[in-house]
Symmetry: C2
Subunit: 137 residues, 2 copies
């Protein structure tokens, strides 16, 4: 139950936070924008302001509950923090996002960073392309 996750993060358990967590857990598309969340919550009795959505997502990110991605210029996309790291492949037509992991690539990255004298803090590999569905159309 997410209730404890929130407490652990030092955050009070409030309706907006619970709703957003729940939405992140249950949404069909794992990768959602702040506005997606805002709209999804719109009709739901207790509405949540867009500013609050952003604040909550930022706090969740700080708490490690959520990861934020900036795939292209536009808006940020959030996903529930996974146990394990993964990279993304994004359809440039329909914006669908899928995930993948490749151990060889991971290792090469570490090797490159080390060779170049960097202490690696993070990395993002994004492949852009046209997905199977969109290629048919």
């Amino acid at each position: 139950m997410s209730n404890t996750d929130l407490r652990k993060a030092g955050l009070k358990v409030t309706v907006p936070r619970l709703k957003i967590l729940e939405l992140l857990e249950n949404s069909a598309e794992k990768h959602v924008s702040a506005e997606d969340i805002y709209k999804a919550l719109m009709g739901s009795g207790d509405e949540v302001g867009l500013a609050t959505v952003y604040r909550v997502l930022t706090q969740f990110e700080a708490a490690g509950l959520v990861n934020r991605h900036n795939f292209e210029g536009g808006q940020s996309v959030f996903e529930l923090a996974d146990d394990k790291h993964h990279d993304h492949i994004v359809c440039v037509k329909c914006n669908k996002v899928e995930e993948f992991v490749d151990d060889v690539i991971e290792q090469r990255q570490d090797a490159i960073a080390e060779k170049m004298g960097f202490e690696i803090t993070d990395h993002a590999l994004n492949i852009f392309g046209i997905c199977k569905d969109c290629r048919k159309a």
Copy 2:
């Protein structure tokens, strides 16, 4: 000479465009933001408006003279289009950008895209870390 590059791109040869091209060619740091360019041009007799810098960079990008990157949320970064593709490793402290290429990673990416049914259009691998210099401090 860049004069012909501009003509080839169907762009009139103007002072702002030449200055920006020149700056991209000669700047110590290959990866610069629009504002970097704007500021660098500030004191230079013929000043160039920030809007023009953006317009010119956008045109250069369309013409394939320049590549634009969105490393993190902030502002875009531009570099003269290289003959050959490369990826980036960015220092999160000083924002220095270095380049690298790794054939193994390139191949794996193609394989992954194919396996997932994507027709790859582009990809961006960005490693973030702390560079040698910044680690000393």
